[in-house]
Symmetry: C2
Subunit: 353 residues, 2 copies
Amino acid sequence: MLDDKNLYKTPISEYGEFGLIKHLTENFENINLSTSQSIGDDASILDAKNKKVVISTDLLIENVHFNLTYTPLKHLGYKSVVVGISDIVAMNAIPEQIMVSIAISNRFPVEALEEIYSGIQAACKRYRIDLVGGDTASSNLGLVINITSIGYADESEIVYRKGAKANDLLIASGDLGGAYFGLQVLERENTAFKSNPNLQPDLAGYSYLLERQLKPEARTDIKTLLKEMNILPTSMIDISDGLASEILHLSDQSNVGFTIYEDKVPMDNQVITTAEEFGINPVTGILNGGEDYELLFTISINDLDKIKNNPNFSIIGHATTEKNNVLITKGNTESIPLTAQGWDAYLKKKNKI
Amino acid sequence: MLDDKNLYKTPISEYGEFGLIKHLTENFENINLSTSQSIGDDASILDAKNKKVVISTDLLIENVHFNLTYTPLKHLGYKSVVVGISDIVAMNAIPEQIMVSIAISNRFPVEALEEIYSGIQAACKRYRIDLVGGDTASSNLGLVINITSIGYADESEIVYRKGAKANDLLIASGDLGGAYFGLQVLERENTAFKSNPNLQPDLAGYSYLLERQLKPEARTDIKTLLKEMNILPTSMIDISDGLASEILHLSDQSNVGFTIYEDKVPMDNQVITTAEEFGINPVTGILNGGEDYELLFTISINDLDKIKNNPNFSIIGHATTEKNNVLITKGNTESIPLTAQGWDAYLKKKNKI
């Protein structure tokens, strides 16, 4: 509903595989010194200098991770890069390259691929990333995108999931839940449109949520912000699968428990009003939702004064000695244990294995 | 027809995403010093020391790159690794890590994934590769595998597609066409089986071809062989898309032409007899077929004596000064120009974009 399909006309079969890759990537420019040789050979060459290489891969599947009914292809390209480099950022490293594999049905014209690549290029420019490789294939199936992300860090700067200690503070960057409630709005309007195609989608008043869902940003700025504050997190993860899932990962891998302060979980006003409209507790949405691409990390309690009034960060809890015991508390009410139930149910809903 | 589906029973939904990855990879052991941190965090950490990082990605799609009717899942896992690391080998680098993303339908049980991973593990052991990451997702579509391959080389050792000079000798490792004619046999038996399911496939006498198609090997040994012979190729590529395609790549990127000696193209006796059976010129099959995963490279004519009697290698032609003019000649007959037509037609047949 967001793209005018009539504008598209060039069949993919007009290009060979290599001609197509060349056509799609010819306007990409490499800017990082770590990129020694880019697209055009059997493999690409990277120069890590004295740094460690940080590498990750993400697979995005049509109708599992995205719905083309309401996802513009350019946004999808942009978001794919963000999803990929967010994993590198979560290690406190600097992302510098991506490789993109795309399988696409012949029902898509070349212009559709150009749209995806224009989004990829916009994200590469925004984040100073070089596109150094990839693969394309046809698919009778649907659209499939795989992003391999590569970054660099000094060994002493890398932050794992495993370093949290009891009494460390648990911090979230930005605000949470926007992407999840944006998805609820898009799904609702899509359902309404399917039952009555004359209905125009009513998206007014949800602009922040829709941007968080359709064009999220990766927090490549956090590494610098923390360095300026002279803080090195003790553990870190990106918030991609819902806050509950990420806290449980830190708990499991750091051998600590956590107590979460429900009323400290940061959220935009649109999240609050939209959650009310849908009859969902906003914190439940944040715990079990996902796709925030904010960072969740722990710091030593000795660093409290450096961060406590910084508007970029919210202290949402603290680590405890009891491994895997994650409690959520609100004011004087009883603490409720947070289990893996939440995100597993969410994953099933999202049809992930 | 090669797997007994009744043996499989555990639904994938019994595992969460993270539980599933953990289950599938728990028996993998890392052996390379360049693997600093493997699966289990947002990203993996690699240590390139003073070497360059060589990296590539390959996307394999059901019914485009493989047919599960006659491809055992374990072989598919093995072959996926071979396809991936062959690109690293083609840069004269040593592959040391892979990352594997798999999208799989819920119609597959956990045991099917275990079969794929057992093949991946067998290849990892055979080639001393560490599995350092990956992603899994469900797919309503079909089986999708993306392999990211990482290797290392000193800068002075890396061989590109672009270094061939006029009068260089063109060399192929091993023998060619086996995988292509193996595919023809499998397709023929599959067609016969579909028209009469009581027919047993007749695969006797094609064992070498079937092994080349279903369980190819990557030529990780060539780098050492050449080093012992004191030869550094001037250009190199792996033979994955058919010999014609690869020669045209070397020609294009090195700004040279080539003359190919048709009767020097190396082939096994099963290729000759099976080509005859199918009424196909074996060299035509080799030029336009693919999936040999042998190496094609050029060396200086000064190195002729070092290689000319080595049974691992065949001198199949030489480079000329005329860029993009690739001719194939047989004895005293006229030279025929080799165009991109061949492999483009092949790609269309294979449904690649």
